[in-house]
Symmetry: none
Subunit: 133 residues, 4 copies
């Protein structure tokens, strides 16, 4: 991950949010789960600075989209009870890269502020830049 790409990812997420009619925050973290770039749209909720980095951190920590974690943390699910300081286990966080490829998981993007569906769409718009990079 680098700042230049992270900024373009943030911009892509914000552009998608405008298309969705949503007000979002977007965070990009590196392979250590540490913030590289963050942007909050004017009027977006103050929960964004907590939830967007949290979704990104969770996605990189578990090597999976947070939307895929959501069913696993339900009562009876195999990760039920998963919780912690920076864990957010519903859709909007997407890891960048794959454990098995040459570079591994290099970071993640997290989006918060819209509906979960809108957040996922914005995060996917950002992640598409990585996949195309």
């Amino acid at each position: 991950m680098n700042l230049e790409l992270a900024l373009r990812m943030c911009e892509a997420a914000v552009r998608q949010a405008v298309r969705e009619g949503a007000l979002i925050s977007v965070a990009v973290v590196d392979a250590g789960g540490h913030l590289v770039a963050f942007q909050r749209m004017d009027g977006a909720r103050i929960s964004g600075p907590v939830l967007a980095p949290g979704k990104a951190h969770t996605a990189v920590a578990h090597h999976m989209p947070t939307a895929d974690l959501a069913p696993l943390v339900l009562p009876g699910g195999e990760l039920h009870g998963l919780a912690g300081d920076r864990y957010v286990c519903f859709g909007g966080g997407i890891p960048l890269g794959e454990p098995g490829d040459g570079r591994g998981v290099v970071g993640a993007v997290g989006v918060s502020g819209g509906t979960v569906g809108q957040d996922v769409a914005c995060a996917e718009a950002a992640a598409a830049l990585w996949e195309g990079a």
Copy 2:
């Protein structure tokens, strides 16, 4: 948000609590979720100083009444697992203002101490002052 209005909101909540036969705490926070005014009725629970500001903080952070958040955080709900330092996701917190209007969400009121229904009624009595302001 300003102190004079926040105090009148607290008083309105307490008057409603008297009508409800409830003993409550009421908190008013600003757009950043920071406390502006707080009042705890004589005999009200010591959980009020935690829960009333928490409900207000949650309502302003998510731009919605905490009563509307309650079903979303159930197992299977789209925000299941939402949690954090000052999060209280059941009824009694009401945001003041709307993201889309000129001023945005300017704060919130939170009430705790009665039944959830009583807390909501008291918070609504306070919020009515904002809507009429």
Copy 3:
């Protein structure tokens, strides 16, 4: 402690702050250190909702003004290292009542937002209501 007296204490602190030219937050807590009333003046710092209740909590917890604690927590002082979730060990918190009198320590007032000297003056103005009650 009761809400009616706590509100009058808050008002006395705010009046003193106006005289001092300071913008303050004031908190009154009960014998358990739990908030009874809180007011933040328009324009006062957002640290007030943390520091004013913290000073009041600390004053009631240690049965002494926080200004008297300050030298004790210095390196070499007998309480050096005193710290914790709601501890604030510089001036502005004043306990109400005495351990040895009939009612004991019944609560405390805490003020934050001005200089330490201004905060102490505002807290004393509030505490004077108790001593005269």
Copy 4:
């Protein structure tokens, strides 16, 4: 505070860091201390995502540069013992606006990663945009 200005402030801080030969993180927060924008330069320390927002939060919470807080929290200083979840009390955080002017303190910028002197220089470069806005 708005995102467009916050991004220009981040860019100004990064440009100054290049001139200083430093690798920094920069954060801009709103009047509630909540993150609006954040950027970490390639190769900058992973402490930046904690310290830069912390300095910005502290500057807005206390209405003063964190460099001015540093001597106050020394043993014997009037705020000795000041601490908390998002408090960073050495140079690199600068508030934007003044309590007494029409808009009040509207946010802050925080920089971390270089020497304290470099961090301050980068934060000042960012804050200059506000003063000129």
